[in-house]
Symmetry: C2
Subunit: 414 residues, 2 copies
């Protein structure tokens, strides 16, 4: 596997895609969607190999479930590509064009990023999803999926490549790295000559590895230690309803609530209600000492609990005396993802929105809404928890950049 | 020098600056500007120590010149801060606010990045410039200047800190790392807990070091291997005028022209004119074989010349048979900075703007215009040659990010 050759082909494909035009890009997406469904037997048979290997090697049930494909899931991948085809193409928009005093016309035009590398784990549906979003925005994509899903990914990519070829489109627009050697992944992270950006999708460990080893610019995604703060005087029914949703509607997602902050003024009324509901929902509460005094069934939180993304039926709980204390605690322990206040107090709502440092800050709503579809972006490549380039749910626009186009008539600088 | 402590103070200052408001930020900038002029004797005396040390250690005349301050240069630094005070503050703008079908109001609000680290070389004026731009946009800044300018930088920072204190503003809004140990710089590059972005300002070596060692997100600035392509049928007087400007108006800058591409159809007419002018301007031309056949005084270019940022009275020259060949060559060797075509051909101008992959693409104008002031941004922190976050000249907006603010009334996700 010659990574330089893959990089070179991807860069060439990026130049080609930049000129392809939205109609042909959409046609490529639709052909790929149809091919996935038409040739699903090939994908399902490859996937069975992956699943058998995984089961033999003792992979956990949860992970095997993420790896396993079936006709419904393949239809879901195809539907995703069709949806992306129907979205508006952000590329080509000239967002501003101004004439300078010297007569130069300076325009700012939205263009593809170029070559995007996606490093991900065992879910083979990411293969089609990531291709769709990158391709729609005129980017060539190099995929490096988890070795557990290698046969599935190879089947999916080769079917999509064939579909592109049938549509008369350069098939190297999407390439898969099949070598599972970790050194190859490390080389990809340093392929600055050919790769414009890397997006890791997966668990905290994968993301940390990419951030620490990559010299190619990275968009960090994913980790969410999301808090909900129940303010003094809050509507406690609303608070409970939102907490149940944010904690338990889906457990393993980055926008789930992991930590609850409750104003002491509400503790006596609220904690018994909370304890009852969390018992029903089988959520383990790890609380600070004062909360444990009120509700003996709560476990005692350790310092490390405040920074934990449990992704599980667990919730940390801290009592505070003021909004200031709540904001300071959240800004110390959060991961820059999503934070919510439940309040009836106008000034406190405004202060929370202003002072909390996170991608998405909510008043009286569940943190679970931090999501490309819910934000109206139509699709999402991930949720950025860094501040550079893109923050929060990343739709198609996050996969583009700008260039300045300048029209002169002989101007030189004085 | 406790870097963790510096980081902690910077993060605290960032939270403080986020709430400070534009009037008080401007007052801080004006106080700092006045203090630099009022206390210039302290700066000049510190600078003399740096200069003497530099001369004794055999620093080149050019570098000593960049290091040396005088009353005019200090006035320039103060004027820069006053100019930044007069610019519009981009922070706080809500660029969009939309209601979703479920009633959630989702707004996208421009906010400071947080804590910015600037790593730079021997020019002490960067100390005031970088502070001004970061402070205006509500960011706390950690400065790490070159050890050659350490006394000057200490004097400048402590005067600015005192001025902030006088204005009632947290002086840790700007901090200087005075430890010249390289390990400290490396630690700064991995201070992800406290630093949101690093911007290296300096030569290619410094920038490479930061890109390769940093786990904090980096905005890569600076290197410019800028090309000018002289198209078939171009106005050759205009071409010559622009080339002279782009190559010789200032030699050591990243937007200077380093490489010339000439269509063969114009070679016989144009190269003798070029040779004469370059001789006058004492520019050494390193040309491909065919151009050397026409003009024997040109030196023969080696392969490595095509990728060179000379920053000197040197120019590489290549003949091409077509616009396609010119675009392919430029896209292979450029550094993503600034590229120009000189042409009378409408379709070729449009194709060049479309297909060249660079931050700024010009038709019939000098590459020297790639600059924050010339683009109308009022000031610039550097020129980004990467595609993430900011591309081309970076004004105040490049020092900001967004957060989503979401107003709900009890919504939970279905």
């Amino acid at each position: 596997m010659d990574l330089i050759e893959i990089g070179r082909k991807a860069k060439k494909a990026a130049g080609y895609l930049n000129k392809l035009g939205v109609e042909r890009k959409n046609e490529g997406l639709r052909q790929a969607a149809r091919a996935l469904v038409d040739e699903q037997d090939v994908i399902l048979s490859a996937n069975r190999q992956d699943v058998e290997r995984a089961v033999q090697s003792g992979m956990s049930r949860g992970l095997v479930d993420r790896l396993e494909l079936n006709p419904d899931r393949i239809q879901g991948m195809a539907d995703g590509l069709m949806q992306v085809a129907a979205l508006e193409d952000p590329v080509g928009e000239v967002v501003s064009m101004k004439q300078r005093p010297n007569g130069l016309m300076i325009g700012k035009k939205r263009v593809p990023l170029g070559v995007i590398g996606i490093i991900y784990e065992a879910r083979p549906n990411v293969t089609a999803d990531a291709f769709g979003l990158c391709f729609k925005t005129g980017n060539a994509v190099i995929l490096k999926g988890g070795s557990d899903a290698i046969a599935s990914n190879q089947a999916i990519v080769s079917i999509m490549q064939k579909a592109l070829k049938t549509a008369g489109i350069l098939e190297t627009s999407v390439q898969l790295i099949t070598d599972s050697d970790r050194e190859v992944t490390k080389k990809l992270m340093r392929l600055n000559q050919y790769v414009d950006v890397l997006i890791p999708r997966g668990g905290a460990g994968l993301i940390r590895t990419v951030v620490e080893n990559s010299t190619v610019p990275v968009i960090e995604t994913g980790t969410g230690n999301c808090h909900i703060y129940v303010d003094e005087g809050a509507d406690l029914d609303m608070a409970l309803n939102i907490i149940v949703n944010a904690k338990t509607q889906r457990i393993g997602v980055c926008n789930a609530c992991e930590s609850l902050i409750v104003n002491r003024a509400e503790a006596k009324r609220f904690l018994p209600l909370l304890a009852e509901t969390m018992r029903e929902k089988q959520v383990e509460v790890r609380a600070d000492q004062d909360a444990c005094m009120l509700i003996p069934e709560f476990l005692t939180a350790e310092e490390c609990d405040w920074g934990m993304e449990y992704l599980d039926y667990k919730l940390s709980l801290k009592l505070v005396s003021s909004l200031d204390e709540a904001i300071a605690h959240i800004n110390q322990y959060n991961t820059g993802h999503s934070e919510a206040i439940i309040t009836r107090n106008y000034a406190n709502a405004q202060r929370f929105l202003e002072e909390i440092d996170a991608a998405a800050v909510y008043v009286n709503a569940s943190t679970r809404f931090t999501d490309g579809e819910e934000f109206g972006f139509g699709a999402e490549i991930g949720i950025s928890t860094q501040k550079l380039h893109a923050r929060g749910p990343m739709g198609l626009e996050a996969l583009t950049t700008f260039k300045y186009i300048i029209y002169g008539n002989g101007q030189v600088r004085q």
